[in-house]
Amino acid sequence: MRYWRDPLDAGQVGAPRGDVHILADRCKGCAFCVEYCPRQVLEMSREFNRKGYHPPEIVDAEACVNCGLCEMICPEFAIFSVESAGLAGDLAGVSVGANIRAGEGAS
């Protein structure tokens, strides 16, 4: 996220950190999660799941901010995030809305 000025508490406040989990065999490869993850944590994998779909894979686990967007948008109940201990560091690069749970940014 780009600010027009640095927030006063920029030094202390970090983005939340999340661990994203993919239930690959349940996925039908729609790519909604990949498209709308505000942190580009995911990419479509070239591998096949049991049903012959390409599930997403995690390409940047560290970047996940536990916004829950992937979980909300997935029509298959195949992906979700849980809060992980620690902070993701600074907010640089978080696109608008990423720190709001459930994807304000995309909607």
Binding site: H21, I22, C30, F32, F48, I73, C74, P75, E76
Partner: protein, 300 residues
Amino acid sequence: MTVATKSTTASQELEHPSAPLLRMERIPHVWCPSCGIGTVVKCYATALERSGVDLDKVSVVSGIGCSGRVAGYLKLDGFHTTHGRALPFATGLKLGRPELLVTVISGDGDLVGIGGNHFIHAARRNMDLLVILINNFIYGMTGGQNAPTTPQQARSSTMPFGNFETPFSLPHLAASSGASYVARWTCLHIRRLTWSIEEAIGKRGFRFIEVIAPCPTLYARLNKLGSGLDAMRFYHDTAEIRNGADTRELEISFQEKITCGKFVDEDRPTFLDLMHNHYGELLGDRYVPTPREGGMLHEQ
């Protein structure tokens, strides 16, 4: 051959957070890849959890169609009724068990095609029901026939040269029939949709939420509109949010702007309020109102 992606092994132990609200033995569901119905189910389940309602007092009623299968996947008291009859069924349920939160989740063809008459009368009576209508502009389950919601010019299997009929604008239909809460969102508006459902759970009367959803297999294929992801991109680029908009201005034209928002939010007496008042005044002490806890069968 199954090749697990990096995260799969660890994730297999953890179940999805919505699992307690779903009949997991039936998942994966039948809906096509990139169909939007599953996303609506997720938003509804999340709204229910956030609202804190007693899940033993929630029931879901669906009609027939792809959207009509929703009731079968939710781990709640659910009823899969006949085509178009979700609303009269739900009405009976609500009148017999007024303490329940009765939700109707079904499709456009089901609720405003064959079930259209029930729809206007349930709204007119301000029947205390939460209605979530999944509008994919078509009869999905039966092969893409024209629906009362199909936009003009869009193709369907029964309008191969494009639809010439005028479709319903559902928020306008609901509002002018008497609904006390009316909103429209798309499947992309996951957060606003969830909020809206949660808000409507806390209200009374006929609460109507239309959700525009991708049907890649029929509506999109017959109209060469690509996948569900293309539909999501289309919503992203063209949906506008106009809370409080005049419901006369909410028509949906083929591949044009979809206006979303909350349009009506009024507290009006429900059917039961009016009935109790009326008979209370008329009969005084002789009037025995519909039993509350336990319903009709458990009285005495």
